[in-house]
Subunit: 369 residues, 2 copies
Amino acid sequence: MQPTVSDHILFTRGVPATEALPTELLSECMQAVLESPAGKTVLQYGHNGGYLPLRQLLGEQYGVSPDQVLIGNGSLHLQDLISALLIQPGDIVFTEQPSYDRAIKTFRRRGAKVIGIPLELDGIDTTQLEEALTRYTPRFLYLVPDFQNPAGVTTSAEKRQKLAELAQRYGFWLLEDIPYRQLRYSGSSAPLLRELVPERTLTISSYSKLISPGLRVGYVIGPLDFIKQLTALAEDTILAPVLPSQAAVYEFHKRGHFETNLEYLKRLYAPRLAAMIDALKASFPNVAFAEPEGGFFVSVTLPENSNYHNLLIRAKEQGLTLTDGSAFFASPLHEGADSASERFVRLPFCALTPEQITTGIKRLAELVR
Amino acid sequence: MQPTVSDHILFTRGVPATEALPTELLSECMQAVLESPAGKTVLQYGHNGGYLPLRQLLGEQYGVSPDQVLIGNGSLHLQDLISALLIQPGDIVFTEQPSYDRAIKTFRRRGAKVIGIPLELDGIDTTQLEEALTRYTPRFLYLVPDFQNPAGVTTSAEKRQKLAELAQRYGFWLLEDIPYRQLRYSGSSAPLLRELVPERTLTISSYSKLISPGLRVGYVIGPLDFIKQLTALAEDTILAPVLPSQAAVYEFHKRGHFETNLEYLKRLYAPRLAAMIDALKASFPNVAFAEPEGGFFVSVTLPENSNYHNLLIRAKEQGLTLTDGSAFFASPLHEGADSASERFVRLPFCALTPEQITTGIKRLAELVR
């Protein structure tokens, strides 16, 4: 029997739960901003590097000057601008393998050859990274060190230390993209790369997963000179970012809603993550996968002997929408090393109930049996 | 005697009058959006080509399908994306000479050689344009046909007809940038280029001058295939634009505020334009300049025998801030043809009172005497 439409389960993009979007609180914040003297500021030209009070707040949070913070219209566009500044056509960029599909696409569009370094259960394979560094000098290594998109992996403290050393020794930038870091449901965080090697790190983050994606408020933190150049390019490209939404985010912080909302999100998402891990263990008892302590994603690489042929099409017929796993794979370091890309399945869990997750994983297991 | 700070007059960028920014109405609109079912929509992922109800409304206004409308974070970024799609390094782009400085910069950053075709009091010099077309095939001609930035010139109906013919005959795009068109204080409008040659025209506009710059709501209208490609590039670059501000603009329209606000702006700005024209006629009786019937700018080219040496620095000492006129000039069609760029002064009038305008022009006349 074909499943009904309402029964259809989406394991596609990393979307927050719609019920978690704080419409009323943001409405109050927006109103407070627009009807205060700040209203004229955010509706006029100016604040080309982002709304100054929010830059100051982020500067305090990260222990840097506000001039080391650029706030833009979402972190993807900041990745595009960073790429425009750093990449000359033909330059090499390293990513984790697999990595965030839109990031890979952005670096390629800006002219880079993107090489993926295999990701292990505790972060990038630093042995293979060192080997790659003897062959290539990348402009940067892009990584999502906390609850990685798409694999759910968190980079261990030891590997972060190693990455910091390698970045200094070989002279490349570390782009640490940390939109999920604060969504930790258990355990404790390893240091940021910027705490280990600030002069070589660009830290990118966003409020998309913490408040709302539609606000498109993302930011980058880096060395003063770099942020100055990036801000000039941003101004040339977009003049100024959308200020009312940045001011609403600032007001959301000021009124103490950020912490309350974050706790609410953790309470909402933690059982969903647990349901996903339990369902995978039940349905795929012999498949090893990273068990994240937070974030949006778990992923599995299906065993070689599983029936993954035409999986996306067959899944859709059975009421399950999946993302093409190969989009998360850059060029492999070693020819032919990534036959795994066809067997890679990303499983976002935040916008699904535990029941939907359990049902979805059962369907997946049936399909590949 | 040095003028005091409060006495300082800024003839710099084209900024709306701060008192004209509708903070309370936008606050009400934003609240209505966020607290309605649309609130969840605009705070979530989706609507990557812009907020659909606003695309539908613009489609109706321009007599096109909503799929021919892309709404982005301000029109400057749309110009950047259009350039990314159309320009290969080394391609030729034509602009009016002078033209909008940020547009020239954008086209150059995307790899174009930008050639300026002289602007006359009724629009681009079509004789020189035809001559230029025998030498170069530009990817596009960028122009601001209504109340041009920086010169204040409006392209005559005859010249628009000629431009449409030339675009068809020689096969290049017309980028008509019309952010000021609706700010007409007297007279009547000539047809849009898109009404004459829709298959060759990309129409770009924005709410920056009509509601608020800080909202960063700009849009482009063009042939279906082109907008489809541009929307895909926009999605790859920024994922989606900032939706709450687009929804607030839609609500602003729906509640009838747009027309009321436009009438208010015209009543506010018309006497400022009149003051500017009167002051220039009084202080520069022998200088011919375009007398616009709307928009944000008047400009003058100072006579060759005037004292324009070190003008910006001397002006600042006398309480007058000017923009460097040469930024508005692309490469000349004929070598050495643009000695006028050093004598070009753009005079934005909307954010100044008639008294400030009169005082500012008197100071300018003193300085170049």
